[in-house]
């Protein structure tokens, strides 16, 4: 069982590494330019953009942690459905606008746009630093996905030989990302998606048949897990927790640097809009993956003696790998595990590229080496991508997994604080740059403080509003405070006549030239 799974797994993972190096020759261009290395030359069409964005958003951590949450906590874990259904319509018209202005001004990061719009390298720096802080633990978490499947394959999991497979996988990833940039992630994302679809289709056909259908599966799950608890009197209970988790996650998603990188690598605003229209289809597969959590409950995988050691080490994160090992034949387990591992490599590559773009554009070039050439800029980004991955690796190996999870929870609370500068900035120049900076600080401090009050045990804080308890996702509370502060201070700073800087963008930069819209831009 282990042997055939391991062979198929190694063949597939080696195959995509070769593909990663080959990617440097795909749509060949000068990879010594940052927009070629770090944005694939802004030439990805509808299909490739689908795979890059899909590879970015639906990560290995999702495939492991989401069913683990459903397995452990039940219906509340399904907040991921509204989250990944509404995130696309919310930015359907916003992202094509960002693409257009970024293309006009050769912006590579969201922070580039913020700096030019508000004439404020400091505001750009804040957006860049937030992005790097939020994305680093996310990369480390992708390693958790790989670790879990490597353990399932029977590889050693402790001591230096336990870390070795992970180090090898990340060294290969670092090497082909260095060589090929975003092109490598794009090509590998195609393979990743095919493997994921095959695995999900097989899983939702084979496993329910084995377990006697969905009726029996849900009958085996405790009633308290099947449905959200009805809120008690005087509280909105799990309902407001569910809705704000979905809304906050959806609003935060497109501020993440790796998602912006994928968006800006598209070849036109229409390609972006088309993807916003069709990516919810991927969410259907995500919902089926989430249901695997209930199948694992019904199959009782945590009570099987052969998995007891794994559950002790990885807790609920082992639910899905255990379910696959129990239900699939050896070689197909290899396919499914390769899908998870490759599903970790794609976002890890894009995230490290996005972090390097931010470092290079908004810190190195802005503050350390303002007159660097294009080639120096690209070389810096490539090297930093190595540093980022090495950092994530040390993070994953040296610190307990719970640290990475806590930091990732904080990461999504932090990244949403950049939404006012980014998203409002696309539509209006009304907000004052310093008001946005103070609003950002207020949101960061409040969000971190509330998370600390919960001792990192969750992200939903019970607010008290007009006598009703409203459990709310901290990211939502913090960004509302951020917006209120930014609005109030904008009025104050304008009244005091504090210089607002010169907008480097023009209204026409945002518009579809063919649409002939007047006035609002």
């Amino acid at each position: 069982m282990h042997r055939s799974a391991l062979i198929v797994f190694l063949l597939l993972v080696t195959g995509v590494s070769v593909l990663g190096f080959y990617a440097a020759r795909w749509r060949r261009a000068d990879l010594d330019q940052l927009h070629e290395w770090g944005l694939g030359g802004r030439r990805f069409g509808t299909w490739v953009t689908w795979f890059v964005l899909g590879g970015d958003i639906y990560t290995a951590y999702t495939f492991v942690a989401l069913p683990a949450l459903v397995f452990g906590a039940g219906a509340i874990g399904f907040f991921a459905m509204p989250y990944t259904i509404i995130c696309y319509p919310l930015v359907f018209a916003v992202l094509p606008r960002l693409w257009r202005v970024a293309h006009r001004h050769s912006h590579i990061t969201g922070a580039d746009f913020v700096r030019d719009r508000y004439d404020s390298p400091l505001l750009g720096l804040l957006v860049a630093v937030t992005g790097i802080l939020a994305v680093m633990p996310y990369i480390a978490l992708q390693l958790v996905g790989i670790e879990v499947v490597l353990a399932g394959l029977g590889l050693p999991t402790r001591g230096w030989e336990g870390d070795l497979p992970l180090v090898i996988a990340f060294a290969a990833l670092a090497a082909y990302t260095y060589a090929s940039g975003l092109r490598a992630a794009a090509l590998i994302a195609v393979v990743k998606d095919l493997l994921i679809y095959v695995t999900v289709i097989a899983a939702v056909i084979v496993i329910p048949i084995e377990l006697g259908g969905f009726g029996k599966i849900f009958a085996a799950v405790p009633a308290a897990k099947v449905m959200l608890a009805r809120p008690p009197a005087g509280s909105l209970g799990s309902y407001s927790a569910f809705a704000t988790l979905a809304l906050g996650s959806a609003v935060a998603l497109f501020a993440y640097p790796h998602v912006l990188t994928a968006t800006l690598s598209a070849d036109s605003p229409r390609t972006v809009a088309r993807n916003m229209a069709f990516l919810p289809a991927y969410t259907f597969a995500l919902g089926l993956i989430a249901l695997l959590g209930f199948m694992a409950v019904a199959a009782g995988v945590d009570k099987l003696p052969q998995f007891a050691g794994y559950f002790r080490q990885y807790s609920n994160n082992f639910a899905v790998p255990a379910l696959f090992m129990k239900s699939f034949s050896g070689w197909f387990t290899g396919v499914a595990f390769a899908a998870i591992a490759i599903g970790a490599l794609v976002p890890a590559a894009i995230m490290s590229i996005a972090a390097s773009n931010l470092w290079t554009r908004n810190i190195y070039r802005q503050y350390l080496h303002p007159d660097c050439s294009g080639a120096q800029e690209a070389r810096q980004a490539k090297r930093v991508s190595l540093v980022v991955k090495f950092g994530a690796l040390v993070f994953a190996i040296a610190l307990p997994t719970s640290y990475a999870i806590n930091l990732q929870l904080l990461g999504s609370i932090w990244i949403i604080q950049t939404v006012p500068a980014l998203a409002f900035g696309l539509y209006t120049r009304w907000f004052h740059r310093w008001a946005l900076a103070v609003g950002w600080l207020a949101g960061m401090v409040l969000g971190t403080w509330m998370e600390a009050l919960l001792r990192f045990k969750g992200t939903v804080y019970p607010l008290r509003l007009l006598g009703t308890v409203v459990p709310t996702y901290i990211a939502v509370t913090a960004v509302v405070v951020n917006i209120v502060v930014a609005t109030a201070l904008t009025l104050v700073f304008r009244a005091l006549g504090i210089a607002a800087g010169t907008d480097r963008t023009a209204p026409a930069d945002y518009r579809n030239a063919a649409a002939r819209v007047g006035g609002d831009g």
Binding site: F78, F92, G215, M227, G287
Partner: protein, 71 residues
């Protein structure tokens, strides 16, 4: 500026409001946090949310074809 094109562009932008339908439908929890009716063994809560994935695609695709010249 083509004077006749402007009002048409603005009126076409109203279609963007249609994008709010899946947002409201999947966030207003009391509408769907119940077990019945069950479909293929799935409680309503689950198949309702699963159905909104293709539902959202249809909605956004319609908006895309209505607004692709103006966004």
């Amino acid at each position: 500026m083509n004077a006749s094109a402007e009002p048409r562009t603005i009126s076409r932008r109203w279609w963007l409001l249609l994008l709010l339908v899946p947002v409201i439908a999947t966030l207003w929890v009391p509408w769907f946090a119940h077990v019945h009716p069950v479909l293929f063994g799935l409680p309503f809560f689950y198949w309702y949310l699963l159905a909104w994935a293709p539902g959202s695609v249809l909605c956004s695709a319609f908006v895309y074809f209505k607004t692709r010249d103006v966004i």
